[in-house]
Symmetry: C2
Subunit: 379 residues, 2 copies
């Protein structure tokens, strides 16, 4: 789909080399490459021992930076790394590539030097929404992530996340279930999917979307790379929604990056007794995030790219004309996806007999329908 | 405690008469009484048939207003009504009374003409926080209302609410359980408690606090009076917190009144799947309320009157030094009140065996204690 097979340019090979010897978000390397070009900058580094790059003002800090970079020069083989990614059917992009997502320019000198992509490179150029959250999520969070992922997919938005356990996986899976594109940003190289238990999931992500990293193949998913990876999710997303996050969850860093980049941020509230929602409540209290309770509100946040939110979920009076029980049951329906009688009993907090009676009323009133063994709202 | 026994002044009797012939929030009557005095205004109404009050510019609307008021003149007996409230051990206040709560002046021409008070009139002059919410609350909401009510009481704040089923009752009960003052504002007369099922509860409220209404004894609790009653809860409160509220709950009107009066408003989030939290999320989305997740955050909202919030609940790192399981269990503890092993299993989402092990660790580490059959955090 997005595999490159031609001969790599010297500029691309130099970017690959820089991608290998730097850590994500190295603003010094970024600035240097923009000033000199990747090839001349690399030539200075690799073929001289000068501590100050040509044209740069002398500064004692150059020495340390240059020696850090030079420590990784041995064994460097950009041509081999290029063949690794193309061998995987993927591509490596730089900002000079027309397929480079323009949103990444918002990162300025913190933009990645390369993007290593497996799957469909074109997925990077479609509007997407970031749906992120806790690895250790609850069933509640998983359910909401699934609903938001479905809502984004049905609205034609790519679901962007981190491929992790918990919320990320639920969001990716919802997109896949809707036959929609989804993008997973990895902290390590895309040659080995992380976490290993998600090898199948990320393989399926590649089929309709892409698995992406700024770290070259072979890079381990280290802590700092996770945090830097979060800025890429934020930058590529039209809006970011945090579904569940503990008080110090990494998902909060994605939210902060999004806020820094002027992307709208949403947070899904949950029980105040749930540790898994504490981070979301923190974002709401800090005024960093808007309260998002369903897919319609997420799409509203994502702006005009998204269609109007489902009028059912926002229109006042949509419960009018129903008795209390029927209204309570209808209100317990998810905005878009299907649900079961058992789930409605749980959400509405009514006796099974009462729910069954209310479902009859609602069906007769044409407010709900039966579809594939599930109950769904009618438009 | 606050019973008045002396001879009522003519001004008080005239206010009582006005209280009887007007509906709560009658700004025309309020303005007229401020301009002429309650006695001359009442003399004009009762002893002449002039449609325009003395000194007022002619206006066709006077006729309708005056005839509405005059329709209730027959059978009026302010002296009897005064004896009803004093017979109940209560008092009736006007803005001229030194015991009139100064905060009510913020209501301007929408201030009540009288306050009919049973219990301890002094409760009206202590700093209090409004804790309101849905009648049809969930067990989750009830639990949070109880925690907030306890937190307010322990901080020396009066708990102000509406005496209704659900959240209101849980908040009042928490104050009573802490031996603290609480105030219930009624929509109808204070001679008959409403709802009837709360006769005992409201009787207990009178013992340490007060049951208050602007409607004279004998007034029925009508819908419009409920809505107007909400402005009194808002006006008397330093801050108002909505614990649970459906999308069109009356508690939202209390929040709106509070916001209009520049009182800080808090809303407690809940599961987005819970109809009972939809109104709270609406307040958060509209930016009308701050997200409040525990008593500490409520006290923060109530401002400098309240002591510093419990450092345990806000200090970052209070889970430091604990293994994941112990941290998760400690985090599942309520901020101030006690809890049980079963509740912790539910909130932490861990197996009973794991919770028991973690409780052992936490007890050895001196982070929790056993007290009266419950687990509590140690300061």
């Amino acid at each position: 789909m997005g595999s490159d097979t031609g001969e790599p340019s010297n500029d691309l090979l130099a970017h690959i080399a820089w991608s290998r010897i730097t850590e994500p978000g190295d603003t010094v390397a970024h600035t240097l490459i923009r000033a000199l070009g990747a090839v001349p900058a690399f030539d200075w580094l690799a073929t001289t021992s000068a501590t100050t790059p040509p044209g740069a003002p002398p500064d004692p800090r150059w020495e340390k930076t240059a020696s850090n970079w030079r420590a990784r020069l041995s064994g460097l083989d950009p041509r081999r790394e290029y063949s690794v990614i193309t061998g995987l059917g993927g591509a490596v992009l730089t900002a000079r590539d027309p397929r480079w997502p323009a949103q990444l320019h918002d990162l300025g000198e913190r933009a990645p030097l390369c993007l290593w992509v497996r799957g469909d490179v074109r997925a990077l150029n479609r509007a997407g929404v970031g749906i992120v959250g806790a690895r250790a999520c609850t069933r509640y969070g998983e359910r909401i992530a699934q609903e938001l992922g479905s809502g984004a997919s049905q609205a034609g938005l790519t679901v962007i996340s981190g491929g992790a356990f918990g919320i990320d996986a639920a969001a990716h899976r919802a997109a896949l279930a809707n036959g929609s594109a989804t993008i997973a940003f990895q902290a390590g190289g895309v040659d080995r999917f992380y976490p290993v238990a998600h090898t199948d999931l990320l393989g399926r992500v590649c089929e309709s979307g892409a698995v992406v990293s700024e770290a070259p193949p072979g890079s381990a998913p280290m802590r700092q790379r996770f945090l830097m990876r979060n800025r890429l999710i934020a930058a590529l997303s039209t809006a970011v929604v945090v579904v569940e996050a503990s008080w110090r969850s990494g998902a909060l860093s994605t939210a902060r990056h999004a806020a820094d980049l002027m992307r709208p941020v949403g947070a899904v509230p949950g029980p105040v007794t749930s540790m898994a929602s504490a981070g979301c409540h923190r974002l709401l209290r800090d005024g960093m995030a808007v309260c998002v309770t369903d897919a319609g509100e997420m799409l509203e946040l994502a702006g005009p790219l998204a269609p109007d939110p489902d009028p059912q979920t926002t229109q006042e009076g949509f419960l009018d004309g129903l008795d209390d029980e029927a209204a309570r049951v209808l209100d317990a329906f998810p905005a878009r996806s299907g649900t079961t009688t058992d789930a409605l009993v749980h959400v509405a907090g009514l006796a099974p007999k009462t729910v069954v009676r209310a479902l009859g009323t609602l069906q007769l009133a044409g407010r709900i329908k039966r579809e594939g063994g599930q109950w769904k709202r009618r438009p």
